[in-house]
């Protein structure tokens, strides 16, 4: 029971060329940097990354872009990482820009079994191109479709040996939602604690959603 701890090597084995990854984080906050390190060492190719933003060239998800490991990114913001823009312009990186609230809700829909949802965001803008529009109660909405991934990488604050997660401050962001939306979920633990140390009322991500726990301090 509760054998979820994973080594650097075993985590590296999980990540393969052409995979779709969701990675938590918002700019410089709440990204599992140690897991990103391992991916960079492995030198995988043509990843599709679903994430809030592409961070900075030397930080988080931005490093995967800078290392040219990403073939496509589905994200809401690339403005802090000039490398993303450069690769987009030279055609080596495909960028799907999605409004942030729509992006996280599409991930939620994917993880929670919805076929899609109607949002007023983007109506009358470039965002509506190619999308079905519906009028409900006199207001126009866009039908937005779910997103799923092969692997989600999340950054946990306090993580117990079973895989329950509580997040620290704004490091929460996309993490608890992407934990629903992938076949395999790996949490990087800021602080690994014994079972019973987290209060059940405070837990944000329930243990069985988490497949593996990576503890940088043990690696």
């Amino acid at each position: 029971m509760f054998k979820k701890l994973i080594s650097k090597e075993k985590f590296a084995d999980l990540i393969k060329d052409d995979m779709v990854l969701m990675i938590g984080g918002f700019l410089n906050c709440g990204t599992p940097e140690a897991l990103v390190d391992i991916i960079i060492q492995k030198k995988v190719k043509n990843l599709t990354i679903i994430c809030n933003d592409t961070s900075f060239p030397d930080k988080g998800i931005g490093r995967l872009v800078a290392e040219k490991m990403v073939g496509k990114v589905i994200t809401s913001h690339i403005g802090t990482n000039p490398e993303t823009g450069k690769q987009m312009v030279d055609g080596s990186l495909k960028v799907d820009l999605v409004p942030q609230g729509t992006l996280i809700e599409r991930i939620r829909a994917g993880g929670m079994g919805m076929g899609g949802f109607l949002t007023p965001t983007g109506v009358g803008t470039m965002v509506e191109e190619g999308k079905q529009k519906m009028t409900i109660d006199g207001r126009e909405y866009l039908l937005e479709l779910p997103l799923k991934a092969d692997v989600s990488l999340i950054k946990g604050g306090s993580v117990d040996q079973a895989g329950n997660v509580i997040y620290n401050g704004t490091a929460r962001n996309f993490n608890p939602i992407i934990a629903f939306a992938a076949e395999t979920v790996v949490v990087e633990a800021e602080k690994l604690v014994e079972i019973g140390n987290l209060v059940p009322d405070h837990i944000v991500t329930p243990a069985p959603l988490v497949d593996f726990i990576y503890d940088p301090s043990q690696n």
């Binding site: 029971m1 509760f2 939620r108 994917g110 993880g111 929670m112 079994g113 919805m114 117990d160 079973a162 329950n164 629903f180 079972i195 019973g196 059940p200 009322d201 837990i203 329930p206 243990a207 069985p208 959603l209």
Partner: protein, 220 residues
């Protein structure tokens, strides 16, 4: 026929408990399915989830340590295990609809050979509402129907459900006191039979067409 209803239910619960694997989320319906919990081997870490918002549900509380704020979806007082947690109903049904629940075990008014299930309404007679059942059977990876083989002598496993459906083609497995059926693309297959039953008895008490598995096993 196993006439002792209590024994029949134990046979069913015991068999279903064997399905579960480590770290899986399982939702047990009210009534007979609840009994399944008593038969889960202690070395298998199953997370019992209840749709009212609890993961890692434990047994009923010891007298004197009841907490009115810890209940299951039937309103009974329960406990939470040390690795358990709570969440709101939207998250709870996100887990359910999003196929994070590996098994949902529930009763049936009728179930048929196509895997259709009727469990929530007898029009004009009994209209309790569907509660969370429709979401559970559509969302869970595996739907197991746990039911006595007959209701007052009448078969419950039919060619085609007559009552309004809970969901279409969702049932994967039917466990009664007489045996275990799997719903396959090739129709219903009897895969296990209880030692005190026989194929003739099952045929006589089942309206649905079914095949008998080549490697028919004894239900345990």
């Amino acid at each position: 026929m196993i006439e002792d209803v209590k024994l029949a239910k134990q046979i069913i619960a015991k068999r279903i408990a064997k399905e579960f694997g480590n770290d899986q989320i399982v939702n047990l319906g009210i009534g007979l399915p609840t009994l399944v919990a008593n038969h889960i081997p202690p070395e298998v870490n199953v997370y019992l989830q209840s749709e009212n918002g609890i993961m890692g549900m434990g047994p009923a509380p010891e007298p004197g340590s009841e907490n009115p704020d810890i209940t299951n979806a039937g309103g009974s007082l329960v406990t939470v295990l040390p690795h358990g947690s709570y969440f709101d109903s939207a998250t709870s049904f996100g887990l359910i609809r999003g196929s994070h629940v590996e098994y949902t075990v529930l009763g049936a008014l009728e179930v048929d050979q196509e895997g259709n299930l009727a469990s929530w309404i007898i029009p004009g007679k009994r209209v309790p509402g569907m509660g969370g059942a429709m979401d559970l059977v559509v969302g869970a990876r595996n739907v197991i129907v746990s039911t006595l083989h007959t209701d007052k002598g009448k078969p419950k496993i039919l060619k085609k459900c007559k009552l309004p459906l809970t969901a279409v083609k969702v049932v994967k497995m039917i466990v009664t006191e007489l045996g275990v059926f799997k719903v396959t693309s090739d129709g219903l297959v009897l895969t296990e039979i209880h030692k005190d039953s026989n194929i003739e008895e099952i045929k006589a008490n089942t309206e649905a067409d079914f095949k008998v598995a080549e490697n028919l096993k004894t239900m345990e």
